[in-house]
Amino acid sequence: MSAAATLRRTPLFERHERAGARLVPFAGWEMPVQYEGIRQEHVAVRTGAGVFDVSHMGEIETSGPQAEDFLQRVLSNDVTRMPERGAQYSVLCREDGGVLDDLFTYRLGPDRFLTVTNASNHEKDLAWFQEHSGGFDVEVADAHERWAMLAVQGPVARAAVERIAEGELPERMRTAEVRVAGVDCLVCGTGYTGEEGVEILIPPDGATAVWDALMEQGVSPAGLGARDTLRLEVCFHLYGNDLSEDRNPFEAGLAWCCKLDTGFVGSDALRGLEPEQTLVPFAFTGPGIPRQGNPVHTEHGDGVVTSGTLSPCLELGIGMGYVPVAAATPETKLTVDVRGKPRAAEVREKPLYRKETSG
């Protein structure tokens, strides 16, 4: 493929090739979609530990006396409530409330923050930050080149990282500077799978050392395919599927991270908004696999699938989609039009997969 010449590669590219990865273009990067198989990798993360190379994700560092004031203006959540060494999820909104990205921000110091962006939105987010930083005593820096990133996830993921770390790992939703496999890293108690685990930000030239040490600890490489099925089972949003500039965070079920009183960009448009549609998780009650873009029919009107897959843990077609608010109650019957075939589904509570009852 001629496009391969222009794709970016993470510092772990050769490790992926050696591990037998199938590499595909993703958001301008050549990324491993799977190694052994999506199902095996998914199960490894649910039952043991898996590591995902997510170095394609971007980082923006915001620092300076008014860093907090600035982030309070652009991010939807209440940044003042994030303690030092804390983590917080938020969305970045346009003036009209459309979602530009969903992001995790870490508070590294009183006046220093690191925000992780989706790869496909990084340049856009960075420009948005810079554009809105006028009038604030703040420095916004593109930190993408400074960090590789690994997500180590699964019930024994923390134990595996602890064995190669010098120092204590941060708790859930906290971050800490920890030496891992001899490399000074920023370890974060966050993830995208619904499992215990950490995400490790690593200086790029140390990425292979951390990767190799994780392999020696028996952690399985896992690709973006499993990352998608894992996040969908626990109903985490994927930007570009479940979130877009054409949808606002209220429709997307993200009102909990929109603190209107903070006066963030987009808050005026969202105030008093009554969405007509809302994002719901659903499961098929018969055969078939829903896919992004499939039309949804309900007795209250129509909607659309934004994410769909076969759930490796539930062995059912599952997905998320926007439906009329009246059809959003769990157990509401849906019909999903899968390439011309009507498939029976019903709205479910989230998460679709819950460890206590299913595992």
């Binding site: 099925t229 055969p287 076969l310």
Partner: protein, 131 residues
Amino acid sequence: MAEASYPEDLKYHAEHDWARIEGDQATFGITWYAQDALGEVVFFDPPEVGTSVTKDGAYAEVESVKAVSDVFAPLSGEIVEVNEALEESPEKVNHDPYGDGWMVKVRLLDPSEVDQLMDVGTYKELLQSGS
């Protein structure tokens, strides 16, 4: 199956489908290359017995966790049997693409169409040319 294989006794179609000809009937499936490219098959949506298939036309769908693929008919005819075992165990397509992973049996409409299919040597050349 881990190792690529392409039986000598089959006829091949450029969309990576095979046909095993037995008189005026044929069995269809997808090749090792096709199942490998697709990844683990998790769903097979068969056509109904009695329906017609047209050479080069899509007659069924196979799905991996990640993607959907059409399955193309190497020859024209009428479906006389579908592999119902694939409903419960679609992964047979990966484990045994030329045996238990067969998809449909067809009564051929025009057996002379067979001449337009590739033998194994030509199909392997096609694979090596990178398509």
